[in-house]
């Protein structure tokens, strides 16, 4: 996984609550068997006027000029400013894969859906929770043109706004370390091999029916 330490980039405002993962990446693109290549279909239903199909040339499709990501100034955005409950619905990790493939490294919202939030960390994307008033302030700043770029510093847990404001955010220490170092968390867990085996041995005595392994 790509590490995340500090990131500066263009911020795009997606002013819509309860954005679900079906909207982030529609089902027809879930037929892929790789983790890459989802970028052109990120927000497919919002970005294009027709229905997208996998394997077609998306550069020739009719664009929805009203969708924010299609505006020239946001095309190179790497930070997404979002509303509450972002990423709700399906557990599909294709949603963070699509965001990453498009170029997003950080998402700022007042709240995230739980599974999506978790999936982001596994892919080097930082989902970052700020109080609703600060998110409102950022939306106003971006929409008025006052704010174009932001800097996110994970180590010191702040978002630096061009106006000079520094917004603090909280993050779970374990996730922070994994992200800062780009750690493979499977490798980390396997270091605890002996503990896992010990747990299994104890459980075999307490709940032996769980180890009958009828599925073998």
């Amino acid at each position: 996984m790509q590490a995340f330490t500090q990131h500066s980039g263009i911020v795009v405002p997606l002013d819509r609550a309860n954005v679900d993962t079906d909207l982030i990446i529609p089902k027809q693109f879930l037929k892929a068997v790789k983790k890459t290549g989802f970028g052109p279909n990120l927000f497919d239903q919002l970005r294009y006027l027709d229905e997208g199909q996998p394997g077609t040339d998306h550069s020739t499709r009719p664009i929805n000029p009203d969708f924010v990501l299609n505006q020239e100034k946001y095309k190179a955005a790497t930070i997404l400013l979002a509303r509450e409950n972002f990423g709700c619905g399906s557990s599909r990790e294709h949603a963070p894969w699509a965001l990453l493939d498009f170029g997003f490294r950080a998402i700022l919202a007042p709240s995230f859906a739980d599974i999506f939030y978790n999936n982001c960390f596994k892919n080097g994307i930082l989902p970052l929770v700020l109080p609703a008033e600060e998110i409102d302030m950022l939306f106003q700043g971006v929409e008025s043109g006052e704010i174009a770029e932001l800097t996110v510093d994970l180590d010191s847990q702040v978002v630096v706004v061009p106006t000079g404001k520094r917004l603090h955010f909280d993050i779970d220490p374990f996730r922070k370390t994994c992200l800062l170092k780009g750690l493979d968390d499977i490798g980390l867990t396997l270091e605890k091999k002996d503990l896992i085996k010990k747990y299994e041995e104890t459980q075999k005595l307490v709940c032996p029916w769980l180890f009958e392994d009828q599925l073998a």
Partner: protein, 473 residues
């Protein structure tokens, strides 16, 4: 010290290592796999040169992509017409064979929607931790198991280590007091509850459903409840173990047998929240307040009773809520204040992991028996949740009842719940659906989904628009 909730008990009994930072390494008893969220996990496993930690803890079945038309099913994987769908089902097949994981493949009578198959086989048992790369894994909580949806990276993590790193959630109890009225079902309870707490109301919680009305539900009804816990934002839903739970598991192919069974039952009987357990949040719902529910918008919280109306702008108390309402109305092609019963339907879908079990099909068949689907309905589909549900329904003659009424009777799978196969809505079409998500485009590009119970879907197919099942004869 106060007692423990059911969630506390399940959590505590699966801790491999508690860490100072609040996270814990949690042991996973059973892992279910399907074709959409597993290919990249197997790829990662192979690239890292790892093997499954405990092969026999995994069970796979293809469900999302499989065709539901009989002719397309007879040739097995090779018969799947869409090449991308075929590839995904093929890859699951190859991965399972390579890793020695048991798969109920397309030709297997036991194949079906993964969340219908698990409980049906007795793979889902009280007290277990169960995960699957699918958010509706919450379904299995109906049997007193801690069941959660995970992403593909975590699928790889569980395959490789049989564990997950998690932080404990908070406890919420949704208590449904009193008895449900006639025609009001588990689906209506959960839709109503989501209407009350909102789609983010359960974020950060495990929701236990309790109270008189929940105790009175069948296990299948409880599965419908827990299935939609995720639609309230909670990763897991739970119902305490009682005599019905134990009766349900008894004798299923993968259930413990003999002396093991006795031992298991003894343990399972302890899987209830203690009387003095502390819940961080309590939501009390009175059964008498629950009407048959219909969603009118593009989020499960956009829901009302069948006698209700689509809300109006002046009912919204914030700019963002007005904005959401405006967007939903425009997508759904509805007017503010419109009566729910005036919504004309184009298609009806009875199926999905929410409502495709035998009890659901029986209830719907009872409603349509001897009647005809309205001529204005383009398609009315019944898709059983598994091959065994299908078989049972056919033995009872339910297929004949549906076919005589003008429904199509299909092969098992996810089907029009998310339209990854050929079963979808056309642009602008309204569908009464027994599934769990009414998001934009969920059932097809531009499709308009209304979530309802099986009996409501059945009655609406006959009428061509929503009707109050309580006044139905």
């Amino acid at each position: 010290m106060s007692g423990k909730t059911l969630y506390d008990k399940l959590w505590d009994s699966h801790i491999v290592e508690q860490r100072d930072d609040g996270t814990a390494l949690i042991y996973i008893d059973r892992h279910l796999l399907h074709e959409v969220t597993s290919p990249q996990a197997f790829e990662g496993l192979n690239l890292a040169g790892r093997k499954p930690w405990r092969t026999a803890a995994n069970l796979a079945t293809p469900d999302h992509n499989v065709p539901t038309i009989k002719d397309e099913r007879v040739a097995g994987i090779k018969g799947i017409m869409d090449p991308l769908s075929r590839l995904q089902v093929e890859i699951l097949d190859v991965n399972c064979r390579e890793q020695g994981i048991v798969q109920f493949g397309m030709e297997d009578k036991r194949q079906g929607i993964v969340h219908v198959v698990g409980p049906e086989q007795g793979l889902t048992q009280p007290g277990m931790t169960i995960v699957c790369g699918d958010s509706h894994t919450s379904t299995h909580g109906a049997l007193g198991a801690l069941a959660q949806g995970i992403g593909t990276s975590e699928v790889e993590h569980v395959l490789s280590t049989q564990c997950l790193v998690q932080k404990k959630m908070k406890n919420m109890l949704i208590r449904v007091d009193g008895q449900l009225g006639a025609g009001v079902t588990a689906k209506d309870i959960v839709l109503h509850a989501i209407g009350v707490i909102g789609t983010a109301g359960g974020t950060g919680y495990t929701i236990e459903f309790g109270g008189e009305a929940v105790a009175a539900l069948s296990i299948e009804g409880r599965m419908t409840l827990c299935n939609m816990a995720i639609e309230a934002g909670a990763r897991a839903g739970l119902v305490a173990v009682d005599a019905k739970t134990i009766e349900y598991v008894k004798g299923r192919p993968l259930a413990p047998k003999g002396a093991m069974w006795e031992k298991a039952v003894k343990y399972w009987q302890t899987l209830v929240s203690d009387k003095d357990a502390h819940f961080d949040e309590l939501v009390v719902i009175n059964s008498a307040d629950i009407e048959p529910q219909v969603t009118w918008g593009t989020s499960p919280e956009m829901v009302t009773g069948v006698c209700g109306r689509v809300p109006t702008m002046d009912m919204m108390d914030s700019a963002s809520k007005r904005d959401s309402l405006r967007r939903a109305l425009s997508y759904m092609g509805l007017n503010e204040g419109q009566s729910i019963q005036d919504i004309q339907l184009d298609r009806v879908f009875i199926g999905s992991c929410t409502n495709s079990r035998i009890e659901d099909l029986r209830a719907a068949a009872k409603v349509v028996k001897g009647k005809k689907v309205a001529s204005s309905i383009k398609q009315a589909l019944v898709v059983p949740g598994s091959g065994l549900v299908q078989q049972q329904a056919e033995q009872e003659g339910l297929d004949k009842i549906f076919l005589a009424a003008g429904f199509e009777w299909r092969e098992p799978g996810c089907s029009m719940c998310l339209a990854m196969n050929a079963d979808k809505l056309g642009e602008g079409e309204h569908c009464a659906s027994t599934s769990n998500r009414n998001f934009e485009g969920r059932q097809g590009f531009g499709g308009r989904t209304h979530l309802v119970s099986p009996v409501m879907a059945a009655a609406s197919a006959i009428a061509g628009h929503f009707v109050d099942i309580r006044a139905w004869n």
